[in-house]
Amino acid sequence: MGQHGRKRSYQDGLPVAPLLVPAALVTSLMFLAPILVFFRFSFYQYVPGKFMEPAWTLENYLEFFTDPYYFHILVRTLRIAFWATLLTLILAFPVASYMARTKGKLKSFFVIALVFPMMLGSVIRGMGWIGLLSEAGLVNKFLLQTGLIQQSLKLIYTENSVIFAIVSIELPLMILTLETVLESIHPDLELAARNLGASAARTFFKVKLPLAVPGILAGTSLIFVQSMNTYSTARMVGGPTIQMMATSIYTEITELSNWPGGAAMAFILLAITLVITYLYSHVLEKKYIQTMHLS
């Protein structure tokens, strides 16, 4: 009965609007305002030694695209994000598939096991990778002592190590995203395909995979965006040699005091990320989701 009363007041729309104000204030002050300030900075003039001068110039943007150093960083960032996303997807799919068909305690165990690492920040996990993979790290120590190698391997501060670190961080998120969608695929659909003569492989490619597309889209675009913007992992596992967009923006601003340059890079990163995810989800969405009529 109390529920009834509450329901009615929701419909009137009276108490809801004021409750949105604090969140709207925080969002506009702490999120929108800095972005706008930074956007303005990106058109300022960088004067070495003098911080920056107010101006309206496109110099900062032009420099990024004309200087091979910066362009190389962008390409590397895209490459790392691409491989990290693809690997995460391939590793996550079987786990999510299995998990989607579990119930009760086993499922709870999976969820806890997946959420737990998310509670540790990426800095902590990055430190873990250093302890594991650095020249004096556990892996090298073990391999040297067992005599499998004579010299320490270069396992860290490489592009691949950054990719693997990102994969390890993003894997739980991908599994959980895929799992939700895979769980919604009725188990009878796979049986029906088998019953109609499809092999296990064709059942996967003709039925399960197409139906999982919404989950794959959601998961991969989410993780692609996060990988593009990786900072702490790139910093710790990539070291000074493997610069990515986020780390070089930081360097630009804090070490070179080039605020306009850093701001321009930040907006280039933002724009590229937005454009790629927009195209990606739109092209694929048109191709699959709309024809699938999934509700």
Partner: protein
Amino acid sequence: MPTDVRLENVTKSYGPQTVLGNLNLDVREGELVALLGASGCGKTTALRIIAGFLTPEEGRVLIGGQDYTYKTPNQRNTSMVFQSYALFPHMSVRENVAFGLKMHKVEKSQIKPMVDEILSAVRLEELGERYPRQLSGGQQQRVALARALVMRPDVLLLDEPLSNLDAKLRHEMRVEIRLLQERYGLTTIFVTHDQEEALTMSDRIMVMNKGVICQSGTPKEVFERPRSRFVADFTAVRNFMRGDFLEDKFVTRSGTEIRAGDSSRAPGTSCLGIRPGKIALNPPDSDAYANVFRGTVKIATFLGDKVEVLAVLPSGEEFILEVPTMAWDESRYEKGKEIVFGWKSEDMLYLTEEDASK
């Protein structure tokens, strides 16, 4: 091509729980057999073993005399219609129906006429380009049927195909399924928990309980001569009198004496049954009505063309009667009033408490 199906001594358990204990089942070519039972009786498990979704621990699955026990589902030509219909949501009606043909590598030029033919057989020719979620429940059901029938299966397997439909559609689809089954001469196994469905649609009914078949026969045989209390209960017998033969009478636990001959009439009988519709109000004074009782009306419920009456004897034994509304005089038979009722000996059912074939 339609063919016969046999399950021989099939056993299946999930962990410690035995779902099928030594199940034997024999379906002849072109026959429609209903597996009738409550949920959890193993009927769906039996169907899934025939389709190859499950492998039995023991026993054999024979389709057309050949051993299919360990063949994968796609190596068998069985077509299943699922309770959930299991239509592929990302494919149009035509694509759903053509799926099996494509998987069997039927020539493209042949697929179209085959799909057209089956869609017109289920009266869906107009809806070929629609997607499943754009169809009503009854239409989805017919797509599921078309998708199964187009394969010209050895065996058609129907898993509670009508349970998601409303009552009116269910009646229509019963007839439609039966007509299609006869038209294509399909060997069909039909799983249901609805006795009316089983009685109206099938050539033979197998009543299942706890993983075994407790009685099988034509609908008429099963309905008229249920052997056990379980089968009787499942076929809408509602009056049960538990007791034992005492010389030439049957004495119920409440002490009511019933003229039922002596124990040689039906050895093993521990319960008598009578359908509510077979009990007559004010029976004629004749030898045919060997059992006539005087009781009081406990409650009478109006059901349209009939009235359901709960009557109680002085001994406490209760009976449910169905009286045609025309014969029911409310003022005369109101609650607490005395009524006289009885039944013909030939309508009385001699039942065992346990399932005989166990």
